[in-house]
Symmetry: C2
Subunit: 216 residues, 2 copies
């Protein structure tokens, strides 16, 4: 199956389907109709039929979707069937939270190293992985087939560290630093800008207040 045949709009919706199908699998559900899935996911059944027909994972009308088949096919499209070696840069609370994040393991993301600048953290282990100092970073990436770096460091240093990562040949950066990274096109960046999410929350509270006359 060629992922390129599937539209970008569908691709954006795939992680949510994958999550729901995974939950169904865990609860032992083998088949589900578009109507039942529609009720759970709160999208229309016709949207679901359109989206999932890209994968052909359905029997005759009335039989519903084969949950495991769809889950597997979507997982392939999302690249979740291959192992991805990754490191975390920044061993603070967020770095530790992500090191302990169960979804990584479940989806073949393999934590290979944790890096920090704080010498008091040197040798500390998180899930059996020792914290290393930043002067080892480049060699470590080159020698251990590291594909992804997770950046949980302050924005003031993130741009420089990203440059080092690119020089060492990293393929992708999962960026939690509150800054846009300037990297070559061949390096994939996915940013989680928490403060932008917080501002959307704040905007919606404010708008609700205004619409309901709850303040001045």
């Amino acid at each position: 199956m060629e992922s390129r045949e599937i539209s970008q709009a569908v691709i954006r919706r795939l992680p949510r389907y994958y999550r729901y199908l995974g939950e169904l699998l865990e609860s032992g559900v083998e088949r589900i109709s578009s109507n039942d899935l529609s009720k759970r996911m709160k999208v229309t059944a016709s949207q679901i039929r359109q989206d999932l027909n890209n994968f052909g994972g359905f029997g005759q009308q009335g039989y519903g979707y084969n949950v495991k088949y769809l889950y597997t096919e979507i997982g392939k499209i999302l690249g979740l069937e291959n192992d991805h070696n990754f490191i975390i840069i920044g061993a603070g609370n967020l770095g530790q939270a992500l090191a302990n994040y169960g979804s990584f393991e479940k989806r073949s993301f393999v934590l290979k190293g944790i890096f920090d600048v704080n010498p008091t953290l040197k040798g500390m282990t998180i899930r059996g992985v020792p914290v290393r100092m930043m002067d080892e970073l480049k060699d470590y990436i080159r020698e251990n087939d590291i594909e992804i770096a997770v950046l949980t460091i302050p924005k003031g240093v993130a741009v420089d560290v990203a440059r080092e990562l690119v020089e060492a040949g990293i393929q992708a950066i999962w960026n939690f630093a509150h800054v846009d990274l300037n990297v070559p096109d061949h390096v994939i960046v996915e940013s989680v800008h928490l403060s932008e999410s917080l501002m959307r929350l704040s905007y919606n509270i404010n708008r609700y207040h205004e619409e309901h006359g709850l303040k001045g």
Copy 2:
């Protein structure tokens, strides 16, 4: 100024403008042209002019935007000028990371309480805020004018906790649990689904490999 006059598309882009304008302010820049801002933000100057003209924060052609004025006006639209009392539910690594998250303070989000089910955490303080047990939750929300709850708890319990929050009159939930919360329309939910972000990263790596023939 009425926020309702501004299109949703512009609203979605505001947090990023706010971030760049804040950085300019911090560096002491008082005025900036749409061309200079365009180079920094990597969006077209005409897009910037269209978006920011909603705020009227500009002088004559050639004088550029008044950075502080625009920053303040956008902050008002985003509801960042009012104090927002919040609590964190889940005192694990992610909860602690968010408790220590500087952007909260800078933007008038006031941490009022941290809750957990683990009795060994009772009385522990994070930034001077003690960890309380969940049986105090509802009364605490009612008595302390809590507007926002941040959920950093496993998905298996998040739905029940969200129900308690709604019963206690919470206005908004910043949800990090990997589940869609089912709350009444008047409760605002902003979700950060980390694993969906990770899947987008993985999808893009996979697509890059396929396009460049890096694997079978």
